[in-house]
């Protein structure tokens, strides 16, 4: 039996992702954003996207998310004060709401983007090409999708290698630790440049860009269900945005 993730054209998924991300950017209300996050999670589960591994990553980033809420709220001085020292306000209700908005937006964008992980980069490129996006740009997108996980692997390896030099990161003062983390950047940038050079050579060796009109062995074909989902998505998007702005935005 065909699962929903295999049924839909990657372009339809791209429209869903763009719609969810767009609403997340335009809407400021925390309740609305919470609702959109819920919808994103449900769609993500429906498409069988790698949500569990994402949640595991979020767990590790929990401290960052919480600190983001507080950092964001510290810079907002309006609203009812919660923590203040004399005349200086450190935390306000308005500030916390702003922080929550930021975090909810981030979560919506990341979770909805995970839906694209249910397609191969080749399928996504094909979708973009059939949308008449220049192949060079579509190919760049596919390279980004292909190399991003490798980049995270490399960062992890470098941090491991640094620790295996007998450096106990958790016991080192913050200033020294920041200097150590600066070492992570060097091999990542150098390796990326080396990889880019090798990739461009390999592409030229295989005649990239020689023929102006490219043909594809695999082509995508939109079906009725694809059009139906696009219509439902656009209707959903306009309803949510319309409702939000009618209520005074």
């Amino acid at each position: 039996m065909e699962t929903i993730k295999n049924v839909l054209d990657p372009r339809v998924k791209l429209i869903i992702v763009l719609s969810l991300s767009t609403t997340a950017v335009f809407i400021k209300d925390v309740y609305y954003l919470g609702g959109i996050l819920l919808i994103s999670i449900m769609i993500s589960i429906l498409f069988n996207s790698p949500l569990l591994s994402l949640i595991n990553k979020f767990k590790r980033m929990l401290w960052l998310i919480v600190s983001l809420i507080f950092i964001q709220s510290i810079f907002i001085a309006d609203g009812t004060s919660i923590i203040a020292l004399g005349d200086i306000t450190f935390l306000t209700i308005q500030g916390i709401i702003k922080g929550l908005q930021l975090v909810l937006r981030m979560l919506i964008i990341i979770i909805s983007a995970s839906i694209m992980g249910t397609n191969t980069s080749r399928e996504i490129v094909q979708g973009l090409v059939q949308w008449r996006i220049p192949y060079e740009i579509a190919f760049m997108v596919s390279i980004a999708i292909r190399f991003l996980p490798m980049l995270t692997d490399e960062i992890r390896d470098v941090v491991i290698a640094i620790q295996l030099r007998g450096i106990e990161l958790e016991k080192i003062p913050l200033r020294k630790r920041i200097k150590i983390y600066s070492y992570v950047l060097m091999p990542i940038v150098a390796n990326t440049m080396v990889k880019a050079r090798k990739l461009s050579t390999a592409m030229e060796m295989r005649g990239f860009g020689v023929n102006e009109n490219r043909t594809s062995y695999h082509t995508l074909q939109m079906r009725r269900i694809d059009y139906a989902v696009i219509v439902i998505t656009i209707l959903g998007l306009t309803t949510i945005l319309g409702q939000y702005y009618l209520q005074g935005g």
Partner: protein, 229 residues
């Protein structure tokens, strides 16, 4: 000590299957086996980079799951299959000096140790060079020098002879011989039969995530391994 260790990257495909091995610092242990038999995974388990799903890895009396990588790094050094993964400073000298600086060693002492290391590994003329422009053999030597400057008690080398010419292999051979004399335990994961034949006092053969052979050259060491080749 690897004690009934199992490990899998994906649940359905175990890479290491209920494996038990005891390693001794007086041995030069070679781990051999075909591609995909779990050699590199075993090496990463030995250094705590990977944590076992079942069983335990005991490093110098401490469970690898309960100590930090930094603490393991003070006891054991690990040479990655690809040395580029463990090079990160803007020049060769700093590559060797920065862990010592972080540990708060005196400047004169750092200078002495780094210069000594540069000489041993024939890298003195490259001390100001950007490490990523070095040849494969030079990177290999730099990575090894960077590990050894920490004075680990145990060394795990993953395919250290890959990409080395005969002359560089001989240099590596001399260096490893000296380390052995100093009493540093060495585990080498390799396909290089000639190199293993020259140095190894114990050969562990893996297949399908299990030990299928554990042979020891009887050189009068105190190892508890029974078999002698």
């Amino acid at each position: 000590m690897i004690d009934h260790v199992s490990f899998a990257y994906k649940k359905q495909h175990p890479i290491i299957n209920n494996m038990s091995i005891e390693l001794f610092s007086e041995d030069f242990t070679a781990i051999v086996g075909a591609n995909g038999t779990g050699k590199t995974t075993l090496g990463k388990l030995m250094t705590g980079i990977l944590k076992p799903e079942k069983g335990s890895v005991i490093i110098d009396g401490l469970d690898s799951s309960k100590i930090s990588l930094g603490a393991i790094g003070k006891k054991a050094g690990y040479l990655f299959q690809n040395p580029e993964r463990q090079i990160f400073a803007p020049n060769v000298y700093e590559e060797l000096s920065f862990p010592l600086e972080v540990k708060g060693m005196k400047k004169e002492e750092i200078e002495r140790k780094v210069n000594e290391s540069l000489t041993i590994f024939q890298l003195t003329h490259l001390s100001k060079v950007f490490p990523f422009t070095l040849s494969q053999g030079e990177k290999q030597r730099l990575a090894l020098a960077a590990i050894l400057i920490n004075e680990p008690k145990f060394l795990i080398l993953d395919e250290p002879t890959t990409g080395l010419d005969i002359e560089r292999k001989n240099t590596l051979s001399t260096i490893l011989g000296r380390l052995k004399e100093k009493g540093i335990g060495i585990v080498m994961i390799s396909h290089d039969g000639a190199f293993i034949g020259k140095h190894a006092t114990r050969i562990i053969e893996l297949a399908g995530g299990e030990v299928i052979g554990d042979n020891k050259k009887c050189l009068g060491s105190k190892s508890k391994t029974d078999h002698c080749a």
